[in-house]
């Protein structure tokens, strides 16, 4: 259970999040939509512990643990996974090596035995097959020379292997063609279950046609302005943020 209460954060001197409240129960998928600069990515980064953000008020707990007090890797071990909007290139670092190192770090944190190369490859290949990824993706350097779509699929592969209990997808659909979008969505849907929850940050309705959320929230000016079911996304698509937000103000 993720509980965000009245969370405020700023970048340098600029307030971005201004009292955001959101609860995500196990098994739920929440979509967060909102105009540019509304604080969507800031929320993803503050929750995952990126440097450069100062939390000025409020709290965020995950399963009762103060998330904001943990190092980024401790949050990962606690089950939080961030699919990056701009996946980072690691020259010279093999994808398989990176993923196995990450998986073993998390397994170690859970007191589970580490996987050797053979065990790991078996697991990774099975996930890749499901995601229709070519085998050579494991041999290449992390995200180096990957197309935009390959980078996003690589994020989903990492999620599939690391099996987080809470995933935050930060505009994972941006730059994807329709086939890649479907593969990414299938990757997320395959994880759905009572133990898995996700926050899907997106600009577009089309991703939510494939990953049908339980809740949709509109984030603007650092706060959740409106919440609703999947139909809210359709409303946004039809009348735009301005229309939906003015309605919120009127209400």
């Amino acid at each position: 259970m993720l509980k965000i209460e009245n969370l405020s954060a700023r970048v340098e001197e600029k307030p971005i999040l201004k009292g955001l409240t959101l609860s995500v129960a196990p098994g739920e998928i929440h979509a967060i939509m909102g105009p540019n600069g509304s604080g969507k990515s800031t929320l993803a980064h503050v929750l995952s512990g990126r440097e450069g953000y100062e939390v000025t008020g409020g709290s965020a707990t995950y399963n009762g643990v103060d998330l904001l007090a943990l190092e980024p890797e401790e949050r990962a071990a606690a089950g939080l996974f961030l699919a990056f909007q701009y996946p980072v290139e690691l020259p010279g670092v093999g994808n398989a090596n990176f993923l196995r190192t990450a998986l073993n770090a998390i397994r170690r944190a859970h007191g589970e035995p580490e996987l050797d190369a053979v065990q790991f490859l078996k697991l990774a290949r099975a996930e890749m097959k499901r995601l229709a990824m070519p085998d050579d993706m494991l041999k290449r350097n992390v995200n180096v020379g990957f197309s935009g779509g390959e980078k996003k699929r690589n994020e989903i592969l990492q999620m599939a292997v690391l099996k987080p209990s809470l995933a935050i997808l930060d505009e994972t659909d941006s730059g994807l063609d329709i086939d890649a979008l479907r593969i990414v969505a299938e990757g997320v849907n395959a994880m759905r279950g009572p133990e898995f929850s996700a926050i899907v940050i997106t600009h577009y309705q089309r991703l939510l046609d494939h990953i049908v959320p339980d809740f949709v929230h509109v984030l603007a000016d650092g706060r959740i302005q409106r919440s609703g079911g999947p139909e809210l996304a359709h409303e946004l698509e039809a009348s735009g943020y301005a229309g939906v937000l003015s309605e919120a103000e009127a209400a």
């Binding site: 995952s48 190092e71 980024p72 890797e73 990962a76 690691l90 010279g92 990176f98 990450a102 770090a105």
Partner: protein, 484 residues
């Protein structure tokens, strides 16, 4: 079995059965008096029961050294070295050093643990296996018999002087002359041991050769001298690993390595250097002033240097190739890591003399803390080296904002048909790379290790397998505490 482990194993065997190589009669005589003069040079030569010609050679080197000035052109700074305040000869005393691991500095043990060195080997490395690998007396050499069958000679150089004087005399000082430079001259005057390798014509050495050098005693300089000769069509891969315990004082290490490759011969020389770098404030550490040079004398011969330099307070080292034979090939692959207050000025010289000679230089410098890391390289194409080619790539990686990286390439081309390429980059470990790794569950240190190993991959790929694993771990350990 990893070569290093083999060596250590052999060392343990030797330790168990007392000394095998020399010095039995002089066991009580462990240190020459401090200071350096002709008498000390004579003493060393006498202790080693050397022939007259070698004593003469040493004395000439000593005379040359006395007339020389310590070089100051490198981008390293250190207080003046008092060459009279050191022992130039140290032979081991049995049962010196700690007896059990409990007596060893826990910091040192932690480092070994992080390196994943098995407990038994940690003991040997920490000097518990009494005199396991000691100053001035060469490490026991491995698998002598197998090598003998192949006709390969691999022994301490002092033994080679005794048993194969004609070979030593023919090649010693022909690549690095006794008066080549200040530190080489000092080494020539007082060298105490090192390795000698001779691979006969057409023989491919049946195993990787390795020597684990170690400085154990206090206030001793270490002056190994290594000579490797590959005759026509021969090939050999030689590994050198170095480590040293922590001492507050600075210790001088001035080695000389000479390689000679005849027609179609190949020599691959790999180093993982992890001498004590000094503490976080820059106190203590090894001064590593080393002259390494290979001569590709024969046509189509090849000499390849691979080095991973993580230790030493100061590294001054330029493994070089003289490409004399037509179509000969020189390679230099280097990773140099500096952290805290370490200083490294390292690189290579590729001297193209013969036609169609080619050389490749790949240098990866990593600086962290308050350290300074300089790549200094010379590519020289002489007038007769028609068709010579060189490719140089120098990459620097900075961690933090207090360190320095410098690239000083010299290119002298005196043949218009030569082709010389140079590429250089400087980058920083980006905050987003670190965060990406940490978000996936890696600690900050694991993340740095992973990114740095990725940065160095082209060089690490040149190392023999077992060394590569050790080097990877070493890189991560060397950079601990460098971020955050």
């Amino acid at each position: 079995m990893p070569a290093v482990a083999e060596t250590l194993d052999t060392v343990r065997t030797v330790t168990g059965s007392g000394y095998k190589w020399g010095f039995e009669t002089d066991i009580d005589m462990d240190l020459a008096p401090k200071g350096l003069d002709e008498d000390i040079v004579r003493l060393i030569s006498r202790k080693k029961k050397e022939p007259e010609w070698l004593l003469d050679w040493r004395l000439k080197a000593f005379a040359a050294w006395r007339a020389m000035e310590e070089p100051t052109w490198a981008a390293v700074r250190y207080p003046p070295i008092d060459y009279q305040d050191a022992h130039y000869y140290a032979a081991p005393k049995p049962k010196a050093g700690p007896r059990t691991l409990d007596e060893v500095d826990p910091e040192l043990l932690k480092t070994y643990e992080k390196l994943g060195i098995p407990l038994s080997e940690r003991a040997a490395l920490a000097g518990v296996a009494v005199d396991a690998v000691f100053d001035s007396v060469s490490v026991a050499t491995t698998f002598k018999e197998t090598l003998a069958k192949a006709g390969v000679i691999f022994c301490p150089i002092s033994e080679a002087v005794r048993d194969h004087p004609e070979l030593v005399r023919k090649y010693l000082g022909t690549v690095v002359p006794a008066s080549d430079n200040f530190f080489a001259a000092l080494n020539s005057a007082v060298f105490t041991d090192g390795s000698f390798v001779w691979i006969p014509k057409g023989v491919r050495c049946p195993m990787e050769l390795s020597t684990y050098f170690r400085i154990n005693a206090r206030n001793t300089g270490q002056f190994e001298r290594t000579l490797i000769i590959a005759e026509e069509g021969a090939s050999v891969s030689y590994l050198e690993g170095c480590t040293a315990p922590m001492r507050d004082e600075n210790q001088l290490h001035a080695a000389v390595v000479e390689l000679v490759a005849m027609d179609d011969a190949k020599i691959k020389y790999s180093t993982v250097q992890n001498w004590y770098p000094g503490d976080a404030d820059g106190k203590g550490g090894i001064y590593n002033f080393v002259t390494k040079r290979g001569a590709c004398r024969g046509a189509r011969s090849k000499i390849s240097w691979t080095q991973v330099e993580t230790g030493s307070a100061i590294t001054w080292k330029y493994p070089s190739c003289i490409l004399q034979g037509e179509g000969s090939v020189g390679e230099f692959y280097s990773v140099a890591v500096t952290n805290n207050h370490q200083q490294a000025d390292t690189g290579t010289k590729m001297i193209h003399i013969g036609k169609n000679t080619s050389s490749t230089i790949v240098s990866k410098g990593i600086s962290a803390g308050h350290s300074n890391n300089t790549y200094r390289g010379l590519v020289k194409i002489l007038p007769k080296a028609a068709g010579a080619r060189n490719f140089t790539q120098c990459d620097s990686l900075l961690i933090g904002d207090q360190c320095g990286a410098h690239t000083v390439p010299y290119i002298e081309s005196r043949n218009p048909t030569a082709k010389v390429e140079h590429e250089a980059t400087t980058s920083r470990i980006a905050e987003d790379q670190l965060f990406y790794c940490r978000q996936r569950g890696l600690t900050e240190e694991e993340s740095v290790g992973l990114i740095v190993n990725g940065f160095c991959r082209e060089v690490l790929a040149e190392l023999p397998m077992e060394f590569a694993v050790e080097a990877q771990k070493l890189l991560a350990v060397s950079l601990e505490g460098s971020v955050g």
